[in-house]
């Protein structure tokens, strides 16, 4: 099998430049990312919360940079392989503050970071379980299709404004007696994104023609 052809991941997604804006510590194995609001830049930051590092019990955090929209998402996650045909549970302790849309843990099927899933053509293909105002145990359970590539993308995500933390992560294969999480991750963000695009298109249709720029190539 030639994994290089997997480069053509079918996400028609517009997203970020990951260039050096991360001020939070990035732990090995985890990847932080966020929507990109042009021209303002990244909408969220994610990594290890500094105060949790110093108290010896590190927690991942995703923090909105100012007020964020319903289709703007930040996440810190990782992809692991070999879960085709399995029921998996991803759990952690989670707390959140000032969250106006959604924050919690998610499991996505296939490649693709959580923050980009609301922009994907094929839907988010992810389940999510929300956090609470004080530390609480949260778990999300999903079936990974046997005919999929067996890749699972797990992590912490924040949709819209606020901040969320998580620690004590566990990923397990569970039996059929454990019910699957009903809530899908990011469906509202996906709908908000589509509405925003449609609004933009409607506005552009009413605007006067924009002439071509610099055809003389100066």
């Amino acid at each position: 099998m030639d994994y290089r052809s997997l480069l053509t991941v079918p996400l028609a997604a517009l997203a970020l430049s990951a260039s050096g804006a991360d001020t939070l510590r990035q732990p090995t194995g985890w990847t932080a990312g966020a929507s990109f609001a042009w021209p303002g830049g990244k909408t969220h930051e994610a990594g290890v919360a500094p105060d949790t590092d110093s108290n010896g019990r590190p927690a991942l955090t995703v923090k909105a940079l100012g007020e964020r929209k319903a289709y703007e998402v930040g996440s810190v996650d990782q992809s692991v392989m070999g879960y085709g045909g399995k029921r998996v549970r991803f759990s952690a302790q989670v707390k959140m503050t000032g969250v106006d849309r959604w924050a919690g843990l998610a499991i996505g099927v296939g490649w693709g970071p959580l923050y980009m899933r609301p922009l994907a053509d094929e839907g988010t293909r992810a389940r999510g379980a929300q956090g609470c105002p004080e530390w609480c145990d949260v778990s999300v359970v999903a079936d990974i299709p046997a005919d999929s590539n067996g890749v699972v993308n797990v992590g912490l995500a924040l949709v819209g404004s606020g901040q969320v933390w998580a620690r004590g992560f566990k990923l397990e294969i569970v039996g059929n007696e454990v019910p699957v999480t009903e809530q899908s991750f990011g469906a509202e963000a996906a709908a908000a994104f589509k509405a925003m695009v449609a609004e933009n298109q409607a506005r552009l249709r009413k605007e006067p023609p924009r002439p071509p720029q610099n055809l003389s190539l100066q």
Partner: protein, 234 residues
């Protein structure tokens, strides 16, 4: 403006660069956009970012008649679509017939190289690159010329649908080689000018088949479940 569109894969990141990733001068108002599947994966991810040089051919700048060019600079993996383009997105042309013309030159092209114009925004070429389902019904019109190294007149004429908020046009190279365009013109034309039937060409079916095969063979691989990496956040 220098931002990037990332399609993130865990093994190697495919990076679409929009802006100043190319060593060539990018003229104001134009955007470079590219994705490459490099044959030599040890070049990744740099090769993914820089599989094409896009901008003004430095030699043409010196001559006083600048030409836009797209040139492949690494060997490409067959199958997945590698595409480089210099392009612009405009709005406000609903229901109009448009002509984009230029003098076009092509050399050593294996694939397709030429002018394109069609409904859609900045994402149009990425949708072609990822062989998005249904994109064949939305391929931009295209004009190409013999890859003999000489200059030829070329033009694309398109009826913009009444509901198409945006159109995107430019110079594209699908695959390997180099194309140039100069003396660019963009006009609203009348019904006496015939629309172009040809489209930009990319092997969407091969790209999809190879991706499906890779996914299927991966599903069959006896990969034991990988544990969560670094759960203690060291």
């Amino acid at each position: 403006m220098n931002y990037r569109i990332l399609l993130l894969a865990p093994i190697a990141a495919a990076v679409l660069s929009v802006g100043a990733a190319s060593p060539m001068r990018m003229p104001n108002g134009w955007f470079g956009h590219q994705m490459t599947s490099a044959a030599d994966h040890t070049l990744m991810p740099r090769a993914a970012m820089e599989g094409f040089e896009i901008g003004i051919d430095p030699a043409s700048d010196a001559s006083g008649l600048p030409s836009l060019t797209v040139r492949s600079v690494v060997a490409q993996l067959p199958g997945p679509i590698s595409l480089g383009a210099a392009q612009q997105t405009l709005h406000g042309y609903c229901g109009k017939r448009l002509r984009f013309s230029a003098q076009l030159r092509a050399q050593d092209v294996r694939g397709w190289g030429g002018l394109f114009l069609g409904p859609g925004n900045v994402a149009l070429v990425s949708q072609i690159q990822v062989a998005r389902p249904g994109i064949e019904d939305h391929m931009p019109a295209g004009a190409t010329v013999p890859a003999d190294g000489g200059w030829h007149e070329a033009s694309v004429v398109v009826d913009v649908p009444a509901d198409a908020a945006e159109i995107t046009f430019g110079l594209a190279l699908v695959g390997q080689g180099q194309v140039w365009a100069r003396n660019l013109q963009f006009q609203v034309v009348g019904p006496e000018v015939a629309p172009t039937r040809e489209t930009l060409q990319a092997d969407l079916q091969s790209a999809r088949r190879i991706r499906a095969e890779a996914e299927a063979s991966m599903a069959k691989l006896p990969i034991p479940p990988m544990p969560l990496q670094n759960p203690s956040l060291d």
